[in-house]
């Protein structure tokens, strides 16, 4: 255990925790925005996979990370339009529709990868962006200020999301649509238009989360996200539909995962204990979810389609 409590190992673990948290954070923020407006999207995992493949393939073919990110986000917008069509205008059950999106993303990316790429080909992923002056602070710099740009974007989106939701007219309308869409409609708010925007935002962020994963790793493989999309959905509940709560959940999950990973690396835990402790991040999330669910209510109109004709 003493090997873990060396400064270098702790610093590396915390930095790893932030890296691991980033895809969760991006996807969770997007899902949170959608859920605050009353839309549940269980297809986050599928959209992440699509974003991951588009980003990887674009980088592989063009060498441009900027283009890779932009096209991944565009793919997310396209998936958002599809999901909007299914849930807002065809009034399909949101849960089932989301699962369909997930299965589509899983199969489609696998097909595209097999046909367009074949064998996994490594690409040069995102470089670290050292924030001037801050990155040079001993230890703190390595933990917080020596990451890729998408890590910084993810965490900067937290105050942005808070501000938009809590301090803007759009955010007010978004919350109203998620709580009492009938009342919002009466006051002239277009419920489905608001939900369309939140779905597009949510899917864009989910695709960006996938892109962050693929560009960080510099590779794509079938089922690259390995269930991170579903964990991101759980983290929305964990965070009580608040940006800061979602960020806390993502960080908790990431740091616990990184800690378990480091403990296994240096042999603190091994054998059967290794299998058990691998469950720690998920178990912790479940425990906190149980406490949260007793105190915080979900948006009242979550998963309920709005039909103006009544």
């Amino acid at each position: 255990m003493s090997d873990f409590f060396t400064l270098s190992v702790i610093v590396a673990t915390l930095a790893s925790g932030i890296r691991l948290a980033t895809p969760f954070l991006l996807a969770s923020l997007g899902e949170m925005i959608g859920q605050r407006s009353g839309v549940l999207n269980l297809g986050v995992e599928g959209v992440m996979l699509i974003g991951a493949f588009v980003a990887y393939f674009t980088l592989l073919r063009t060498g441009s990370t900027l283009l890779a990110v932009l096209l991944a986000v565009t793919a997310g917008v396209v998936m958002g339009l599809l999901y909007s069509l299914i849930t807002l205008y065809m009034n399909a059950v949101q849960g089932i529709s989301g699962i369909g999106i997930y299965l589509f993303g899983l199969g489609f990316t696998d097909l595209l990868f097999q046909k367009q790429v074949g064998t996994p080909i490594p690409v040069k992923g995102l470089d670290e962006l050292h924030i001037p002056l801050l990155a040079d602070i001993p230890h703190v710099g390595e933990i917080f200020f020596q990451h890729s740009i998408l890590v910084y974007i993810a965490f900067l989106l937290v105050p942005v999301a808070w501000f938009v939701i809590e301090r803007t007219t759009f955010g007010l309308n978004l919350r109203a649509v998620g709580e009492t869409p009938e009342a919002a409609d009466t006051l002239g708010v277009s419920v489905n238009r608001i939900r369309l925007f939140t779905i597009l935002i949510g899917n864009s962020l989910a695709a960006l989360a996938g892109a962050a994963l693929a560009l960080e790793l510099g590779i794509f493989q079938q089922n690259l996200t390995s269930g991170r999309g579903f964990i991101a959905i759980a983290l929305v509940y964990f965070g009580a539909w608040r940006p800061l709560g979602v960020m806390s959940g993502a960080l908790l999950f990431g740091v616990v995962s990184a800690t378990v990973n480091q403990w296994k690396t240096i042999g603190i835990i091994e054998g059967a204990a290794s299998s058990l402790t691998s469950m720690a991040p998920a178990l912790l999330t479940i425990v906190v979810l149980v406490f949260v669910s007793r105190r915080i209510d979900a948006p009242s109109a979550l998963t309920k389609p709005f039909d103006r004709s009544g």
């Binding site: 790893s16 069509l85 065809m90 992923g125 960080e216 690396t265």
Partner: protein, 342 residues
């Protein structure tokens, strides 16, 4: 009943989706990339042996699944067989459905290429006594006479890799990224550790089983944590190692591969790879099936029977003396003069 725009749109889209599905089904076919035409040219010859493979990862994963797929391709050059593949079936229930489906479709041989498929196989095989099932990696044919179990002495190649790793490490710390502590993965890791410590008892080998065969990101973080702990040589096994090799490539860390030749993942860093040649046992098994024996036996890949091969990456520039010593280790393990101790 008044038709709302939403209902009209739903009906139109459903019709379009249904029509599109019919068109695609008509135009598409079996898109399994492994489908092979019979090699026989004699039109009067018997029907080719129909082989199906069910695997948990992609056929081009440069690891477990690709090793079997490549071997089947090599077998197909000399035998009249057809090959169909259902890959990427990491959900065991889906794999079970595929295995049963192939058996129901009259395939002669169904390969359940995954230790985790043993459960479904134990239920399926008795229902199809005329079908030969191959299951690996495993050393247990479950007491059934239509299951061949196959395994691999991956510890042998691991041992060789470990001896080399112990000689090239400068920090004295080596990192291993493993999936689940089972099957050929565990054997490889155990063999690697045995080889490294036999070569240099002062070397530290840190092993991290990430408890997943597919989590590439976690494998990458495991590799990163190894480097943070001082490792300057890495190895790993299973299909998620592409995450770890990415880290090794980015940091210029020597890498030892297994299951398939992993040089494409890092031409500058891959030192050597233990390559599985499943065709060594496939040929024997197919001969036995042709003779009427559908199972009830266990086969293993070893250095001695040619099922395992250590492929060195010339581009890495391994020291000539170390290379010679490694080749001697291979020879000793092959002849039985040396043992991994496992």
């Amino acid at each position: 009943m008044k038709r709302t725009p939403g209902r009209r749109l739903r009906r139109s889209l459903l019709a379009l989706i249904g029509a599109s599905s019919l068109v695609l089904a008509a135009c598409g076919g079996d898109d399994a990339p492994a489908s092979q035409e019979p090699a026989a040219t004699d039109s009067a010859a018997a029907d080719p042996v129909r082989i199906a493979m069910v695997a948990p990862s992609a056929i081009n994963d440069l690891a477990f699944t690709q090793s079997m797929y490549d071997s089947l391709q090599r077998v197909a050059k000399n035998r009249d067989i057809t090959i169909d593949v259902s890959d990427g079936l990491f959900i065991v229930e889906d794999a079970g459905a595929a295995i049963r489906g192939y058996a129901e479709d009259g395939y002669d041989v169904v390969i359940a290429h995954g230790t985790q498929f043993g459960g479904p196989l134990s239920e399926i095989a008795p229902d199809f006594p005329g079908v030969s099932f191959l299951w690996g990696t495993s050393t247990d044919f479950q007491g059934l006479d239509n299951i061949y179990a196959y395994s691999v002495r991956s510890d042998e190649g691991g041992y060789v890799n470990g001896t080399i790793a112990a000689q090239i490490t400068e920090s004295g710390v080596i990192g291993v990224v493993g999936p689940v502590e089972a099957g050929d993965a565990k054997l490889y890791v155990d063999g690697f550790v045995a080889g490294a410590t036999a070569q240099d008892p002062s070397v530290t080998v840190n092993v991290n089983y990430i408890e997943s065969f597919s989590d590439v990101a976690l494998a990458a973080e495991a590799a990163t944590s190894h480097l943070a702990s001082g490792a300057d040589v890495l190895t790993g096994t299973a299909q998620m190692v592409v995450g770890a090799t990415g880290v090794a490539q980015a940091e210029g860390i020597p890498w030892f591969g297994t299951q398939s030749n992993q040089t494409p993942l890092g031409a500058d860093i891959v030192v050597a790879s233990q390559v599985y040649h499943w065709e060594v046992i496939l040929e024997t098994i197919l001969d036995q099936i042709a003779g009427g024996k559908l199972g009830g036996e266990v086969f293993e890949l070893t250095l001695a029977n040619g099922g395992l091969e250590i492929e060195f990456n010339d581009a890495f520039g391994l020291d000539a003396d170390i290379l010679a010593a490694a080749e001697q280790t291979v020879a000793d393990l092959t002849s039985g003069a040396a043992s991994t101790g496992l």
